[in-house]
């Protein structure tokens, strides 16, 4: 998929902007604080109505205005379509349209899929498990329209159950009530787990391949899904269900003591191993960077495999941080296949691409 044209109205520091985009490579160059990342944010806003930078949606809107709009012409294998998202800050609502016709968010999502690489991604390996879970959940949500709903439902069950555990601790209710929630918790957990394990299995194979190429076959990357109790990839859902139920039974006392649900996918983690060593403990800065790059490349292939089409790739500031050989590999992998958007402060450091693409100079909310 490719974005042919992009239009911003009152989005962030852009009052009014129309861009014709290159189908392969687009560079946004300029000093800091001029609005380069805002353009990448506009693309992710166009894709899903949300941002990778903030949950404060009023920030989207140009100072003093009441609404913002991003629209884009997205071309795919089977033709092109104009899609747009509008955010109204007074009513705090978003309006999604295809070809000018109102559509539900659920139907709108997944038409444009961005894969994003930002400096924050570099903390994926050593950061909190939460970040790694979010990474995986976001990947699945990109290709599975139902996943976001199922995950929301799971989180709702956990929330209700945690509340119940606290009440039980204070002896307000009996244990019978908790048991009826266990059934539902486990049922929903199985759905999340099977999806997560299948997706991670695919991603890990793809990432291992990319990682091997990035390191000249010197390093082997393994990615494991870590959960308690441990589930084998390809386990039958009924097996997973049983082991979760047993685990809930075992940790009953502990759960009541903490007032927290301690079993289930909301506690799981993803472990990376480089040549058999746990990357969280041992990976150097450079190794982490390579690992995350391999993951991002795997994401591209994963989306392609699941949807039949490459996503668009957004690089926020990270590109210039990669060394020469990694950059060359990256360029070879994506050039001509994946529409890429890169932000950076200097044009010359981005010059690995054979085909120049289009370079936009960004300055104070204007693009030249």
């Amino acid at each position: 998929m490719r974005i042919e044209g992009l239009k911003l109205i009152h989005f962030r520091n852009y009052s009014q902007l129309e861009l014709e985009l290159d189908k392969n490579l687009n560079l946004f160059v300029g000093a800091n604080g001029q609005g380069k990342t805002n353009l990448l944010e506009a693309i992710s806003f166009l894709a899903s109505g949300s941002s990778f930078r903030t949950h404060h949606e009023s920030e989207f809107v140009f100072w003093g205005k009441k609404s913002c709009l991003v629209s884009g012409i997205v071309s795919k294998r089977f033709g092109k379509q104009t899609q747009q998202v509008c955010y109204e800050s007074e009513k705090r609502r978003k309006i999604y349209k295809n070809e000018g016709v109102l559509v539900e968010r659920r139907k709108y999502l997944g038409q444009l899929i961005p894969v994003l690489f930002t400096p924050e991604d570099l903390t994926l390996v050593k950061g909190q498990p939460q970040g790694r879970r979010r990474f995986l959940d976001e990947e699945i949500a990109k290709v599975s329209p139902v996943y976001e709903y199922e995950l929301g439902r799971y989180q709702q069950i956990v929330k209700q159950r945690n509340f119940l555990l606290k009440k039980y601790r204070e002896k307000i209710i009996g244990s019978q009530e908790i048991e009826s929630w266990n059934e539902q918790l486990v049922l929903q957990a199985v759905k999340i787990l099977t999806k997560r394990m299948a997706a991670l299995h695919r991603i890990s194979l793809l990432a291992r391949l990319a990682h091997r190429k990035l390191t000249g076959s010197r390093e082997n990357l393994d990615i494991n899904y870590a959960s308690l109790p441990t589930h084998q990839e390809g386990s039958h859902p009924e097996q997973i269900r049983q082991s979760l139920l047993e685990s809930l039974e075992e940790r009953k006392q502990e759960e009541v003591r903490w007032g927290q649900t301690l079993v289930g996918p909301h506690r799981d983690d993803i472990l990376f191993f480089i040549n058999g060593k746990n990357a969280k403990m041992y990976a150097s800065q450079g190794q982490q960077r390579t690992l995350v790059l391999a993951l991002k490349l795997a994401e591209l292939e994963y989306v392609k495999g699941e949807t039949g089409e490459y996503p668009v790739l957004l690089f926020d500031d990270v590109f210039s941080e990669l060394d020469e050989s990694r950059r060359r590999f990256l360029v070879e992998t994506i050039e001509g296949r994946v529409q890429t958007f890169i932000t950076g402060t200097e044009a010359e450091r981005l010059g690995n691409f054979r085909h120049a693409g289009r370079i936009f100079t960004v300055s104070r909310g204007e693009v030249l």
Partner: protein, 198 residues
């Protein structure tokens, strides 16, 4: 805004209605003021009257104007089939189908720990008392398909099944008359999960 005291009170009162904000409340208030006095009195009386005369059916918990509701009074209904719903409005929805011939049991909500609603806040004890007599052959759980409704259904199933009752859950899936291609993904995937032997 500075309204005379009586008008301000009416606006305030209308704002208590669900889905009514300050603007709509103001519009409604001015509309009421423009009506003939008799109509306003009739409206007010109707509300007070409904509030006074409506009570809950002693047997099933549905809205009623007598001790028992119109369903429970009807001797032609299947006395061995019981449908458990969350709300009196659900009874009306099911009645509109004219297909269900059994009796109802209205819980008055769904289990939601966060909102402080547990089995004791619902009419579950009454349900147990009703079904304990052995006159029912099947209990259909027709609570909403969301997390709380599902939890309620599971809870009830757990206590009714040991009594030897047949406990069933209404299916969720595709709206009838709609085309498959227009169904949203979640509904469609649920329908796929709930497929049955043909």
């Amino acid at each position: 805004m500075f309204y005379p005291e009586p008008i301000a009170r009416v606006i305030e009162a209308f704002q208590k209605l669900p889905g009514v904000g300050p603007k709509t409340a103001q519009r409604l208030a001015f509309f009421v003021l423009s009506l003939p006095r008799e109509e306003v009195v009739a409206m007010a009386r109707a509300m007070v009257n409904a509030r006074d005369k409506t009570r809950y059916c002693q047997s099933c918990g549905n809205f009623s104007d007598a001790e028992t509701c119109f369903v429970c009074r009807d001797s032609r209904r299947d006395q061995s089939l019981l449908c458990v719903v969350q709300d009196p409005r659900d009874v009306l929805a099911l009645e509109r189908t004219r297909e269900f011939k059994g009796l109802y049991h209205v819980l008055g909500g769904a289990i939601s720990p966060i909102d402080g609603v547990g089995p004791d806040q619902l009419r579950i004890r009454e349900l147990l008392a009703r079904t304990g007599g052995g006159s029912f052959r099947e209990v259909v759980l027709a609570t909403n398909p969301n997390v709380e409704g599902e939890a309620t259904a599971l809870y009830i199933a757990r206590i009714l099944k040991p009594l030897g009752l047949r406990v069933t859950r209404i299916a969720h899936g595709l709206p009838v008359g709609g085309d498959l291609e227009y169904a949203d993904e979640v509904t469609l995937s649920r329908a796929m999960e709930g497929r049955r032997e043909f």
